[in-house]
Amino acid sequence: MEKYRINPSKGMEFGLYTLGDHIPNPLTGERISTQQRIEEIIELAKLAEDAGIDLFSVGESHQEYFTTQAHSVVLSALAQATEKIKLSSSSTIISTLDPVRVYEDFATIDLISKGRTEIIAGRASRVGNFDLLGYSLRDYEELYEEKFDLLLKINEEEVVNWEGQFRAPLKNARVLPRPLNGSMPIWRAVGGPPASAIKAGYAGVPMFLATLGGPATSFKRSIDAYRQAAQINGHDPSELPIATAGFFYAAETTQQAQREVYPHVNQGMQLINGQGYPKQHFAQGADTRDVMNIGSPQQIIEKMLYQHELFGHQRYIAQMDFGGVPFDQLKKNIELIGTEILPAIKKYTAKN
């Protein structure tokens, strides 16, 4: 775990992630400017740090309704604006980027942040990425595997010799600058069925697992498959951290939380996936056994501890701004996390 800068004895880490959502407020129809949204993201990271949250991460999404396409630039601003919170990408779409450039960017951010930076690399869920950045969707799988492997290699070897299909070969190439401590944690973003988790396990890299909604037990399969695949391929699963990520929203009562966030989740799904979120599924999400962390602080604490017991994961990353949740409500969420949720989670998961 040390290699990945995680100390489980201090309890489960709690992080936030944003994809830079830029969606009209479903209640008013108003949409804030791109600039305001980015400023608010920077402000949010500072508030998260003050609240004792462990990590803040910014993802890349090349489509309408998002603002952080240049997520490494935003992370760089966060590196300057904060002092101790860990910074990450969730996720960097490595399939359509050049791993050398990505590493240069993130190593620089790591230097600016004094060693607080890591990379979570994913493989995109959108065709738009491929069209925009000049790749073919036919190479979806291969692009990701090859580029992710190269990214790991650059992290481990300062002088790189490499040849592949989607990038010019590297001959005795030095990829500079190096991160503060020589290397950085690199996670593999995993969504959907266990097949993807199995690949992360084989590679022996930390897994960032998206768990947006549904029974927690159904994600347990991916987690078990990941650990098993790691073991089979000679890695020690107890050294490999797992993070889960999903919808989060807290308010005084569970009913209030549902009332406040449902219009955002529904509209966000409508705009981004082309179909709204069924009320029936959303209502079921309040059950302790569902992964969706939406409810009162007490309800969320119960859910998080249940998931921790089930998954044995080291980090949870909350997405609470999905669907254009206004900044004031996000601030209130951070307050509830800092004062009620985080202390309880740490208390029950730390090994003292």
């Binding site: 065709v127 969707l137 549902q258 009332r259 082309g274 069924p278 009320k279 029936q280």
Partner: protein
């Protein structure tokens, strides 16, 4: 209520003839309904490549988005080689997994042989069920002998088409009021 009629074949005329009757029956009986008829023979639709349905272009995008915006869909399909045509299957493939959630889907089938009667049960209904449709259970099965030169000559078929339209609208209204009543119970 948005009703989309979808004629699923590029080959032949019987399915689109029957669908014409169906759409006319719907327009006469339900003048307030918003009706759209899509005859796949008249469109140039690309094969599904797995992208989000809104990311296609041209006819493909138009059809996918029109179907997704519907409250009810009446599908007309011929049976070829003991199966539905690829053109129709491709429409299903273009859409997301839960595409028909909260939608009512009914069917009209033309076939050269009565032996094809159960193809709908065995092939189409499982797909519609998987995609979460509310299915109108009885479909209209029309044989070659019911047509004469692009006209339906069997009155029984015409009566059944009228009933199919009525059932489709009734189930759509009923399902929508059931759903509204259910959603009203939630406090958000």
């Amino acid at each position: 209520m948005k009703i989309v009629g979808l004629s699923g074949s590029k080959v032949g005329s019987k399915t689109s003839t029957a669908m014409d009757y169906t759409m006319k029956a719907a327009a006469e009986k339900y003048p307030d309904a918003e009706l759209t008829f899509i005859d796949l023979a008249e469109y140039d639709v690309q094969f599904s490549d797995g992208r989000d349905y809104r990311e296609y272009k041209g006819d493909t995008k138009y059809i996918a988005e029109t179907v997704m915006a519907a409250d009810a869909i009446i599908i007309g399909t011929p049976i070829f080689q003991a199966s539905i045509p690829a053109t129709l299957k491709n429409i299903f493939d273009l859409l997301p997994v839960n595409a028909f959630r909260d939608k009512v889907v009914s069917m009209l089938v033309t076939a050269g042989s009565p032996k094809h009667y159960l193809i709908v049960e065995q092939q189409v209904k499982p797909i519609l069920g998987y995609m979460k449709a509310q299915i109108v259970q009885t479909y209209v099965f029309i044989e070659e002998k019911d047509f004469y030169r692009k006209e339906i000559t069997n009155d029984d078929v015409l009566f059944r088409i009228d009933r199919l339209v009525e059932d489709t609208v009734m189930l759509t209204e009923t399902y929508s009021s059931i759903r509204e009543a259910k959603e009203a119970q939630y406090n958000f």
